[in-house]
Amino acid sequence: MPEKPKVAFYWCASCGGCEESVVDLAEEILGVVNAVDIVFWPVAMDFKKQDVEAISDGGILVSLINGAVRTSEQEEMAKLLRRKSALVVAYGSCAHMGGIPGLANQFDREQILRYVYEESPSTINELHTRPQTASPEGGHTLTLPEFRSMVRTLDQVIPVDYYLPGCPPVPRMLKAALDTLLSGNLPPKGTVLGPDTAMCEECPRKESKPADLAYTAFRRPHEVIIQPETCLLAQGVICMGPATRGGCGAQCVTGNMPCSGCFGPTSRVMDQGAKILSAIASSLSAKETEGIDRTLATIPDPVGTFYRYGLPGSLLRRKIADHN
């Protein structure tokens, strides 16, 4: 029997949802396990870093890495897996675009550490102790990974071959992606393994959107009772669907919540936030600055709204601390 192709899974700064989504393959996971040899999967299997190091360079067919990159350890593992793998897939929104952890790029490192270790209401830390990368302890030195100054997407740390979008990716797409990669019939490098039209295409509410929408105010989901069959934008709720790659089957909208953009932009768009901003702003009703500002004031957090999953991967990447 020929050797089965080797596959590795790894998680960086992630919530674990991506790992869950692998398990969500349900019975199909057995087919996957049959077809491949999983050589590394910290969340589920007891392989160590040394085991990976022992594999010859390029010996793994594909590594699926989820989570954003925030620490030196994540960088190190990403680099190791890159060396050992023929293909690397950025798995899920965080690896793809920075994801929810990427929102931390609105704050600098010091702000975050101070808040987390000193100022947050649940913290008692009278000595103002902060984690150190190296601390001597009984003749030994204990080390911790370094907390980097910002969150990065996977492809800002290592070259990435493919992307599987979503928070988390849907099992159907994972299955299709694995099938494609195992088939050897590879798409061009850099491809996002999903459809390339916006989510609206598959949205059940799309026909209910009026053609002459003119916004006078926006409302956040908790401020309104969302009608279950009408386009959310028509209800004044910002839905990222028009600027977000489809493939999820309009899950959030089906659950009566607006799309928040986790699949990222289509291949033709560089900056998802800029594009939805453009589309929404263009359809405001007001024509003069004052009225426009009044309407826009109902979007309290433009960055958090338009870049919920994509700040580190956006054109600006992070907030500039010295306010220039």
Partner: protein
Amino acid sequence: MPETNGHDAPRVGFYVCHCGHNIAGIVDVAEVARFAGTLPNVIVARDYKYMCSDPGQELIITDIREHRLNRIVVASCSPLLHEHTFRVATEKGGLNPFYFQMVNIREDVSWVTENHDAATHKALDLVRAAVRRVAHHRSLATKHVRIHPDVLVVGAGISGIHAALTLANAGKKVTLVEREPTIGGHMAMFDKTFPTLDCAACILTPKMSAVKNHPNITLWSYSEVSEVSGYVGSYTVKVKRKPRFVSEELCVGCMECIDACVYKEGKTPDEFNQGLSKRKPVYIPFPQATPQVVLIDPDTCIEFKSGRCKKTCVEKCDRNAIDFKQKEEIKEIQVGTIILATGFKTFDPKRIPYYGYGKYPNVYSSLEVERLVNASGPTGGDLVLRDGRHPKTVGIIHCVGSRDRNTNRWCSRTCCMYSLKLAHLLKEHSEAEVYNFYIDIRAAGKAYEEFYDKLLEENIHFIRGRVAEVTDWSARPEEEGKMIIRVEDTLIGVVRRVPVDMVVLAVGMEPQADSQDVRRMFNISCSTEGFFLERHPKLAPVDTFTDGIFIAGACQGPKDIPDSVAQAGAAAAQALSLIDAGEVELEPNTAYVVEESCSGCKSCLNICPYTAITRDETRQKAFINEALCKGCGTCVATCPSGAIRQNLFEDEQIFSEIEGLLQEKESVLTGGGAWRAPA
């Protein structure tokens, strides 16, 4: 010729123009060419004295053939000036004309930059951007549209009349729309015209009746254009025809109804006579009015106000022309070209309170004086003042509302000459002493200076200085009961007080009060002062930035009669050249939807002001009607998933331009790195 090599790897030919010294005097053109030669894809890079000349264009054509070029970049003047020229050269070389990109290093660089290094540096950035951009250019087909042969002329003063007659004589159908009840405009109010002193009516009225009788002219007086849509070659225009309450078909202009009116005397200030006389509710502006049709003013007519008039006018009219129930009508016409000749308004001298207009009864505007000295005017040409006196001294104040930072900065061009004319006429009518208060006498026209010379010999006084005020503050006994003109006589350097009986304010020419509304309706631009903006101040003086719409006469700027007529003829010729060509090329910069990329999200549908975007309901995708799209690109910027693209302004073309502008590394000057702007 079908282009064959457009889709191969880009092979760019680059040309930088010296434009004599215009560019080369500031920008180091040799360095620009050398630099361009180092850029990726550039096969040939040359500098040449005048790229727009025949040998310059020939250079491009030959290079395309010899070096198998498939992209052309020319760095010279503004694309608004010569883009077309170089596209044609590109096409002559065998390429699709849209494989061309232009870099503006004259208007945007050499003409606005002092420092040579900074100018060269800026030129290099722009060149790099264009070279990158042109790699993304694609082959496009030019659109052609047919030109409807009918023409709309708006405004029937001397300019509109002349343009309409020129076109009609060439066999074109013209609709001439005039807002007032009669055609003729300001010229019809004038007494004599400078410098020949021939009577305005004598030369104008034959043209007015020619308009009325011309088989190719449809005259709609007392009408206004209310809506314009479409584009060059195919404009749809709605015209509002205001009710005269007198049938234009039935009325023969006998004016018996006017005599019969229950008002024995007129009570309303007569518009045509500048309020110097009164008219009745039923009236005709002046005896030679065209059309010769009376009209009823519903604001003052008793029948309209109370409905209880004896209607003696109706009784008197044996043709039953009077119709109190007449309604406003909206007419719609199709034309291919439009000439705007909407004229001017005179400056309102009340805006300069220290000249006393409206405060002292014997202060007149020049237009009032035109009526006052006119034999068919309110006094039959007798120079009698509002207080019944005949003036012994008259002061004419020049530049009222002209050459003045507080009101209008421009020279109205006509006031000097008409002031001289009025000085002559006033002297002739009254034997009064006439003083002209002027800043400069501008008599730049054929036989104008000679006319001024003649006036100098007629014992008319000229005092050089801008008048400070007209006041009744008398400081000496001889000033009692007079108006005193205070002025610094700048030739002798003293302040003078000149007591006069009559003051004439030589008011300047201004844009019509509604010129902004009108130009918006026709989608053309205005200069800052509000006159319609020509496409090029020298080379396209009657064209506008909207194809197929031309301007003539004082709506474009202050003008006298000869200039207005000349411009009207030019505008008519421009319209004729379009009509006779039969069709016109359009820039293929339209937007289009890449159907497989469109999610059908409808974000674009309400963005297009021309309703060019519709949604194919069966396929649930957006669709752009190319014929309606005007190429603004707003929907392209709006489309949240990048499914709409715009020819000539594709995303990747603009992104590559941005990248090129900012990619500093390649742009190291031979003379050394850093450059500084002048402090």
